[in-house]
Symmetry: C2
Subunit: 199 residues, 2 copies
Amino acid sequence: MDYYSASLSRLINELAKLPGIGNKTAQRLAMHLLKVSKEESSALAHAIIEAKDKIRYCSICFNIADEDPCHICTDQKRDRSILCAVQEAKDIIAIEKTRDYKGLYHVLQGAISPMDGIGPNDVRIKELIIRLQKEDVKELILATNPTIEGEATAMYISKLVKPSGIRVTRIAHGLPVGGDLEYADEVTLAKSIEGRHEI
Amino acid sequence: MDYYSASLSRLINELAKLPGIGNKTAQRLAMHLLKVSKEESSALAHAIIEAKDKIRYCSICFNIADEDPCHICTDQKRDRSILCAVQEAKDIIAIEKTRDYKGLYHVLQGAISPMDGIGPNDVRIKELIIRLQKEDVKELILATNPTIEGEATAMYISKLVKPSGIRVTRIAHGLPVGGDLEYADEVTLAKSIEGRHEI
């Protein structure tokens, strides 16, 4: 039995497909969209269509962008001798927000995960190797996630790249700033001690 | 500084306007919408536009519906002698899901709340009174929320309607089914004792 009108139930169903949005939240969002002005709700609808139409992957670094190549790859002020490999495009945003890194990026679009059937050929490792051969890169920073899959991907890439003489580094593991030693898990704490440096 | 491409940041901004959706969630939802097929993302966009275009308020009960009058008001199998007044259209869904109530509804579209500057004329009380005069209603169930505003609205309506001889009832307060006496707040427990009935 359908309690909603046809178009409302369609809207709720579509909203409920979004990650982390359950049926109740979808209902609340739909009610909100019905309440706001027509301009406001259609602004959202058009933003979805426009983003889907305009956004493409940068053919160099596989970042998501309105233009190809993306604004980072075309930025001449960036240090072209450092390349930072990340799993997802959103990781670029996270690193950019630090305002600390001025090199280029390479989005792997995933991590090696044999359990999920994702092998080295399913992520953009081949494209990374080709870039390293063509471009004059001095250092490759592996900024994949500190998970089993991310570590495996970093190890795999490092073994492939090291023979070519390029410096391969991995982002540091340790306690988060503002974190508490007492609440840190053992693996993080062990990594933190292992990565200690003189002050 | 803008880390996202123009159309992506527009999408994130629009998503972040939804209630309960913060910036991080909006970013996650946007990334999801970019990942899914074009059909899937445009289905959502079109559902928003269509719902906004098609859905109107029922001119009788102020329920949201694709048609006017709504499918509940036009349903001849419903008991036209009972009317249930609720605050919001979504409350109708909640009551309908019980499959217990077979009468008609009246959506007040809010509750009296002097603190927020909402008086009796800002909710659909006048329309309710006119309906009660025109239609042959024997009982009016006040199903506003068990909040201060909902109670005030119920009291206000009951004082207006009672002189006309229509039976005015209020939904029961008490412990929720499956609830625990130990964890019930005092007001609910007091209402629950007050509303006791023989078994």
